[in-house]
Amino acid sequence: MAKKRRIVYTNRPWEATGICSGCRLCELYCSLQANGAFNPYRSRVRVVEMATGIDIPVTCQQCPDPACQTACEFDAIVFDTKLKIVVVSEENCTSCQACVGACPYGIITMDPVSNKAIKCDLCGDSEPACVAICPSRVLGALDDLAVAEYNRRRTAALLAIDDELLRARPGGEDPVMKKLEKKG
């Protein structure tokens, strides 16, 4: 039975070229695959350029309980049993944009040419175009087990920020413990 996959930013930050370069070939080839033409605004993976100059490719997280599907009142976001993800049904989409507002990751968006909602559909189970084209190999189509490896690392990264901030504090005291002690 085919496994559910999703596109993950498979960065290797210990390598100078193991992070997104900002080339946006993924956007170009995603839109080519989806529409037969080049248009980053119609790409389902988008590269976000941060103020620091860092580029990050983001795309649909293929949530198991998708907020976009819940928000849609027109049955335009439907579960695909083969891909095990939700996909947009263009004929039902009324362009109301409820899904766009509902997505906590800011991923599902409106195609400026078709005016329908668009999201990553793993290129319909053929080899995802973004994964194939990325010259830095920082995009992967991963199954649940492999995704968990990255999620674990990212959870640790959040905790690591906490460590970093506290380490910078003079005296290294734990503010939470201090508060609790005072209450006694």
């Binding site: 100078a16 070229t17 370069s21 860092i54």
Partner: protein, 647 residues
């Protein structure tokens, strides 16, 4: 010529800032067939519409923005957008190419070319947002650095992906060394030729663009097949790898081994370079190894200084930034990064600015300029503080000396006089670039024949370094064309070919490092001609042969040459600074003690003119040569002005 599916948008957008008019016209086969796109179309528009009677700062001078024909498609490294105008630096043809994304946005908004004429009464921004085109007030932006200009526009429009081009204070002040910056300070530049000053003279602060339409490709399978072959080559060819590892810093090793730095205003070939080792930039300062749009090679670099007097500075640095820093005697990385930062934010071209500052430094070292002139600055080679401060003053035209230097090396030398002319290192007013030509005759000639002033990117004379003698025999009729120092015969032909070759790149919008640099000639040809043609045919739906593609390059070159002739250039201007002929390269090293051999120079130039079908004595074009390229109108125009050889 817009098919629903090809790579053209199909229109030219014309703006007149004097009247405020906004018009568009179709981009037809009459332009596409002979010129294809990018630099090709731009050069012809300049020729047709900006005759020599129009001076660079006149409102009738045009700013012509033309993304390469393939920019915006998924062709690898099809990232370049050309800006063309009559140059206020050289008073001749001027252009520059940027690798940022704005050109693709223009195409997606519906326009292959943007032509801007006239002068606004007050500072303005041109907004192009798909079908909405508007000229709006820009008073609040005038005076802003390039970086702030971009973020201000992005914040005001609330368009996160807004693409902009703008000038900084240098362009506003009509500094003839200023450039046009894309998306702020560190993304891309249309540099050289002082084009920022033309934009400033038009009171045009910025162009802000969003375009959401498709850019098509007719034959997707052919595109993908060509892409696959391209990747095979760059994975085998040792040349691109250095770029991926070090960025363009990698050229340091070449300059060191050949001993051709151009240090201290082109006096020294060998020079203390060790602190500028690419490994040091990579290990100690690198914060980002990035790519221009659609490029797999990844040779852009952002560097940060963490501590010390320039701590906190982050800047995009390219090889020429380091090279021109050496030209000013700067030997350590933090000064280089700090200088790049100033140039990028104030809106200066590092090539012209570096050479102009070096000129001033040599004048100072020789007592032609004193501390009285510099308001106390010790303008010596290697003095980083002076280097940074004089650059900032040039951008702001602050003080008499900076005001003079802001006019570029050639004019500065004319104004200062007192024998300073022999320190002015430029060709036709365009400052020197890349490495020292002493010991490399064809490189020397290539600087002289470039159509936009001294330029190493206008041609690829380095082919002689990779070609085998049997290849040279087949292509240039002589084995000795593959011999760098001693060969003569065939080098003129080779130079012509390399110029036409690289022009193709600018027409299509292909990056030269991705397509026109290789370790063998077969790979170079395969990428730069064969695959380039296949990519174009796949995206456009046309069926050009490789010969036709090369001929397009030749045609565009001839248009620019004609433009320069019309502006008064003669064979006498196809030369290089006297220093290279007369003064032996100092500092020892592999090229130490050499000069450019005048006889060899002239011999190669003669053969070059012959192959270009120019009259060797005058350097003028011939009717036969122009009509062969379909440039009958250009021939007629030159003849009417007495600038054609024969009739």
């Amino acid at each position: 010529m817009k098919s629903a599916h090809n790579c053209y948008a199909g229109k030219i957008l014309r703006i007149d800032l004097t009247s405020g008019s906004i018009d568009s016209e179709d981009l037809g086969a009459d332009r596409i067939d002979p010129l294809i796109g990018g630099r090709g179309i731009a050069s012809k528009i300049l020729y047709d519409e900006v005759p020599p009677e129009i001076a660079p700062f006149d409102p009738e001078n045009l700013l012509i923005f033309a993304p390469g024909a393939l920019h915006g498609t998924g062709v690898p490294a099809a990232s370049r957008t050309t800006l063309t105008c009559r140059s206020p630096l050289t008073h001749m043809h001027g252009d520059g190419h940027s690798g940022a994304q704005w050109g693709g946005e223009l195409k997606r908004a519906g326009y292959d070319v943007l032509v801007i004429k006239g002068r606004a009464q007050k500072p303005v921004t041109l907004f192009i947002d798909d079908d909405r085109v508007e000229i709006a007030d820009a008073d609040r932006l005038w005076g802003m650095l390039t970086s702030r200009t971009h973020t201000a526009l992005r914040d005001e429009t609330n368009i996160a992906d807004l693409q902009t081009v703008c000038i900084g204070p240098a362009g506003e002040n009509r500094v003839r060394l200023s450039a046009v910056f894309h998306n702020g300070a560190d993304k891309g530049v249309n540099a050289r030729c002082g084009m920022g000053a033309v934009m400033g003279a038009k009171n045009l602060k910025a162009i802000a663009t969003r375009g959401t339409k498709d850019i098509g490709v007719v034959d997707i399978e052919s595109l993908k097949a060509a892409y696959k072959e391209y990747v095979e080559i760059i994975n085998t060819d040792p040349h691109p790898v250095g770029g991926t590892r070090y960025g363009t810093c990698r050229f340091m090793y070449h300059r060191v081994q050949f001993g051709i730095h151009g240090a201290e205003n082109w006096n020294y070939g060998a020079y203390p370079w060790e602190k500028l080792d690419p490994e040091i930039f990579r290990g100690d300062y690198q914060v980002k190894a990035g790519s221009c749009v659609a490029c797999p090679i990844r040779c852009r670099r952002d560097y940060r200084v963490v501590s010390g007097p320039y701590g906190g500075t982050t800047a995009k640095v390219e090889w020429e930034t380091i090279a021109r820093s050496l030209t000013c005697g700067i030997k350590e990385p933090e000064g280089v990064i700090a200088w790049a930062n100033i140039c990028n934010h104030y809106g200066l071209d590092i090539e012209g600015t570096g050479d102009t500052v070096a000129f001033a430094m040599e004048c100072f070292e020789n007592g032609i300029i004193t501390e009285k002139d510099t308001d106390g600055l010790s303008l010596r080679f290697g003095d980083t503080e002076a280097f940074l401060e004089i650059t900032r003053r040039i951008a702001m035209r602050e003080g008499d000396l900076a005001d003079i230097l802001a006019e570029g090396t050639k004019r500065a030398a004319e104004t200062i006089g007192a024998g300073s002319e022999r320190f002015a290192m430029h060709v036709k007013g365009g400052e020197m670039t890349a490495g020292d030509p002493r010991g490399m005759p064809v490189r020397a000639v290539s600087y002289a024949t470039s159509t936009r002033g001294s330029d190493h990117l206008r041609s690829n004379p380095y082919i002689e370094e990779i070609m085998k003698p049997e290849e040279a025999l087949k292509w240039w009729g002589s084995e000795e064309a593959a011999d760098i120092a001693n060969g003569l015969k065939g080098k003129g032909r080779m130079l012509k070919f390399s110029e036409d070759l690289v022009t193709i790149g600018d027409i299509l919008g292909l990056c030269k490092f991705a397509f026109y640099r290789s370790a063998t000639f077969p790979w170079l040809y395969q990428k730069g001609v064969t695959l380039a043609t296949r990519f174009y045919n796949a995206c456009s739906g046309r069926s050009l042969s490789e010969e036709e593609m090369l001929m397009t390059g030749e045609r565009v070159w001839n248009i620019e040459k004609a433009y320069n002739t019309r502006c008064g250039a003669t064979r006498a201007d196809d030369t290089i600074p006297q220093r290279f002929f007369k003064e032996a390269l100092k500092g020892g090293g592999p090229s130490g003690g050499t000069v450019v051999d005048r006889e060899k120079f002239e011999a190669i130039l003669n053969e070059y003119y012959e192959n270009r079908k120019f009259d060797p004595e005058t350097g003028l074009q011939t009717r036969a040569g122009l009509e062969r390229l379909g440039l009958n109108d250009v021939a007629d125009d030159l003849a009417a002005r007495g600038k054609l050889f024969g009739k």
